[in-house]
C-alpha cells in the first residue's frame, strides 16, 4: 500500500448504511456481481462511473449497520480508500481488516466536492485539494492498524502464519476471489 493516494473523490452524505452498499439481495450474488449494487438506491449507476483508484468520501456515521463485508465490494471496483467525517466502528474495522484504508477526517465533506481531484495521505490522515491548496488533517490510525492495512488485511497475515492452508482453491475463496473452476471442497 502506498501511503499517498492521488485520486478522484466521490462524495456521499451522512449515515450511509451497509444495506445501501451491500443490500440483502446482493448477499446471494458472487462478489463481482454484488459489487455492482453499491449505492444501488442512493446513487443508481455509480458503479458504472467509478474507476479503479478512485476514493469514496462520506459524512458522519459512515457504514452504520451490518458486519457484511462491504470493503470486499469496494475492492472489487478498485476503490483505493474510504474517507469519512466519522465512521461506524464496525465498518471501520471491517474495511481495515480487508485491507481497504479508512481514514477519519472531520470537515472533509464540506471541503471536498464530488469529482474533485485529491491527494490523500493514509498514514498522516491528511487530504489535500491541489486545485486550491486546501488541506485538512484528521486523526491518524495507530501504527499496528496501518500495518494491517498495509499487508492487505488480516487474511494474508493468517496465510503467512500458517493458519490458512495454502492450496489455491481454499485460499481463493477466503481471499474473496471466486473459486477456481472445478474447485474441490477438500474438507467436505
Amino acid at each position: 500500500m502506498n501511503d499517498v493516494i492521488e485520486a478522484r473523490a466521490w462524495v456521499v452524505g451522512d449515515s450511509v448504511d451497509t444495506d445501501n452498499m451491500y443490500p440483502g439481495f446482493a448477499m446471494k450474488l458472487p462478489l463481482e456481481e454484488a459489487a455492482k449494487h453499491i449505492f444501488y438506491d442512493l446513487r443508481p449507476g455509480w458503479t458504472d462511473q467509478v474507476e479503479p483508484g478512485d476514493i469514496v468520501i462520506a459524512g458522519k456515521n459512515f457504514g452504520i449497520g451490518s458486519s457484511r463485508p462491504v470493503a470486499q465490494l469496494f475492492k472489487q471496483l478498485g476503490v483505493a480508500a474510504l474517507v469519512a467525517e466519522e465512521f461506524n466502528s464496525l465498518f471501520l474495522r471491517n474495511s481495515i481488516n480487508f485491507g481497504l484504508p479508512a481514514v477519519t477526517i472531520p470537515g472533509v465533506t464540506s471541503t471536498i466536492a464530488d469529482q474533485d481531484q485529491v491527494v490523500l495521505n493514509v498514514r498522516t490522515a491528511t487530504i489535500e485539494k491541489p486545485a486550491d491548496g486546501t488541506k485538512l488533517a484528521g486523526s491518524p490510525l495507530p501504527e499496528f492498524v496501518l500495518e494491517i492495512v498495509a499487508q492487505g488485511g488480516l487474511l494474508p497475515k493468517l496465510v503467512a502464519d500458517g493458519y490458512i492452508p495454502t492450496d489455491p482453491g481454499r485460499v481463493g475463496r477466503i481471499l474473496g476471489s471466486p473459486p477456481a473452476a472445478g474447485e474441490q471442497r477438500p474438507e467436505a
Binding site: 443490500p23 458486519s67 475463496r173
Partner: protein, 415 residues
C-alpha cells in the same frame, strides 16, 4: 479515576489495571461465535484454531438453506466442527438466532468478552458481557489467534428511574432513547439505575441488541438480582459480575423516567431522531407485520403476540409473520399455546431464522408495501425493496396493528 463496566472488562482482558478513553488495547477473547454466513461466504478450513472450548458455531441467518451457496456453507460448517471437535455446534433443529442461542446456553458471561460475526452481538451486553460484532475476516482471525484489539470509547450512561408501565416494552424504551438522543457512534452505552429492576431480561436484551441501531460499540447492563436469576439457571461455572466505579467519569449521564413512557414507533429509514410516542404517529395502513429477530423473537415477545391475537383475526390484506428466535423458543411457545393462538389468527409462524429481518428470505417486502416490524433494523431496503417503507415498534404494537390493519396504539386493543 473510576472506570465504566466496559473499561473494567477490557482492562482485565488486556491484563491491565486501568484503561483510558481513546486507548487501544489488545484483549484475549473469551468466546467467539461463528454463524452460517461465514461458511457460505468467507471460509477455508483452518489448519489450527486457538481454543475449541472458546468457540461456538450457530446456524441462523439462512436456515433451512434457501440457496445452494447457503447449503454448501452448511456442509463446510459441519465438516469444520467435526474436524476441530467443536462441542458447541447448533445445527438446524437445535439452532436459533445466534444471540438467542448465546443467551440460552450461557455463552455471554458477566465480565467476559464475546465476539461474533453479526452486528447485533452487542445483545450480550444484557448479561454484563463486553460483546460486539466484528466483520467475517476479524472473527476468523479471532478464531485462529484468540485475541483482537479494541479502542476504548467514551460512554453514555443511561440512568433508568421510575417503574416501567405495563404494555411498555424494551423496544419502547430503546426507541425513546434513539428518538430523543440519536446516534452514539464510537460511544458505549451503559444502563443502570433504580428503574432497572422493573425491566425484565428479555427487554434488556432487546435494548442491548439495538445498540447497533444507534451505531454504538458496546451496550452493557450490570448484574442485578433479575439478571442473576437468569444467569444462574444457565451458567456452567462461576462468573464474576462487573460494576462501574462510583466515581466514573461518563461522557454524559442521561436520565430516563420509565414511568413516563408510552409505546413508541420509529418511522422508516432508521431510528436515530426518528422515533416518536405512538400518540404522535400517523395511522398508516400496513401490508406486512413482522415479529421476530434477535431483538423480538423471544418467548415473551411471542406471549405478547398470542395474548393480543387470541380469538381475533389478522385484518384482510395484512400478512403477519412471527419468527421465534430459536428452536427452544418455538417449542416452548407450542407448549404454552402461543403458537396455536398466533396461527389461528391467520398469522404465519416460521421456523427460527434471521430471514425476514435482513430481507433475505421468508417475508421479503415488495415495492410500495408498508411494513410494521418488531425486529432489529428499519433502514431503507433492509427487508426487501428500497421502495417499501418499514416502521418499527414493539411486538404489542405490531400484533395490535395487524388486527387493525393500520398502525395503532395497542392500548386501544384490549387484551
Amino acid at each position: 479515576v473510576g472506570m465504566t463496566i466496559i473499561e473494567k472488562i477490557l482492562a482485565r482482558a488486556a491484563g491491565r489495571d486501568q484503561v483510558e478513553v481513546g486507548e487501544f488495547v489488545v484483549c484475549a477473547v473469551d468466546m467467539t461465535v461463528l454463524i452460517d454466513l461465514q461458511f457460505a461466504t468467507l471460509w477455508a478450513s483452518p489448519t489450527r484454531i486457538a481454543d475449541a472450548e472458546r468457540l461456538a458455531v450457530i446456524m441462523d441467518h439462512a436456515v433451512p438453506a434457501p440457496s445452494v451457496a447457503d447449503a454448501d456453507g452448511g456442509v463446510r460448517a459441519r465438516a469444520f466442527v467435526k474436524q476441530h471437535g467443536i462441542k458447541r455446534f447448533f445445527d438446524v433443529g437445535q439452532h436459533g438466532i445466534c444471540h438467542q442461542v448465546i443467551a440460552e446456553n450461557g455463552l455471554a458471561r458477566p465480565g467476559e468478552i464475546l465476539t461474533c460475526t453479526d452486528s447485533h452481538t452487542c445483545a450480550g451486553g444484557a448479561y454484563n458481557t463486553a460483546a460486539r460484532g466484528l466483520g467475517p475476516a476479524e472473527v476468523y482471525s479471532v478464531m485462529c489467534t484468540g485475541k483482537t484489539w479494541f479502542q476504548v470509547a467514551p460512554t453514555f450512561r443511561y440512568e433508568l428511574v421510575g417503574e416501567k408501565p405495563e404494555g411498555v416494552t424494551g423496544k419502547d424504551i430503546f426507541l425513546h432513547i434513539a428518538g430523543a438522543y440519536g446516534d452514539a457512534t464510537n460511544h458505549n452505552l451503559e444502563f443502570g439505575g433504580p428503574g432497572l429492576a422493573s425491566v425484565p431480561m428479555n427487554d434488556r436484551r432487546t435494548i442491548a441488541t439495538q445498540g447497533a441501531e444507534i451505531s454504538a460499540d458496546f451496550a452493557t447492563f450490570p448484574v442485578d438480582e433479575v439478571c442473576r436469576a437468569f444467569l444462574d439457571a444457565r451458567a456452567d461455572r462461576v462468573y464474576e459480575p462487573v460494576d462501574p466505579d462510583p466515581d466514573t467519569a461518563y461522557e454524559s449521564v442521561r436520565e430516563v423516567d420509565l414511568a413516563s413512557l408510552e409505546p413508541y414507533v420509529a418511522r422508516p429509514g432508521g431510528v436515530a431522531h426518528n422515533a416518536v410516542p405512538i400518540s404522535q404517529i400517523e395511522e398508516r395502513p400496513v401490508n406486512q407485520c413482522f415479529i421476530g429477530s434477535c431483538a423480538n423473537g423471544q418467548l415473551e415477545d411471542l406471549r405478547i403476540a398470542a395474548d393480543v391475537l387470541r380469538g381475533r383475526k389478522v385484518a384482510p390484506g395484512v400478512r403477519l409473520i412471527v419468527t421465534p428466535a430459536s428452536q427452544a423458543v418455538y417449542t416452548e411457545a407450542i407448549k404454552a399455546g402461543y403458537v396455536e393462538a398466533i396461527a389461528e389468527s391467520g398469522a404465519i409462524v416460521t421456523n427460527s431464522t434471521c430471514g425476514a429481518c435482513f430481507g433475505y428470505h421468508m417475508g421479503v417486502l415488495g415495492a410500495g408495501e408498508v411494513c410494521l416490524t418488531a425486529s432489529t433494523r428499519n433502514f431503507k431496503g433492509r427487508m426487501g425493496s428500497p421502495d417499501a417503507e418499514i416502521y418499527m415498534a414493539s411486538p404489542y404494537t405490531v400484533a395490535a396493528s395487524a388486527i387493525a390493519g393500520h398502525v395503532i396504539d395497542p392500548r386501544k386493543v384490549t387484551v
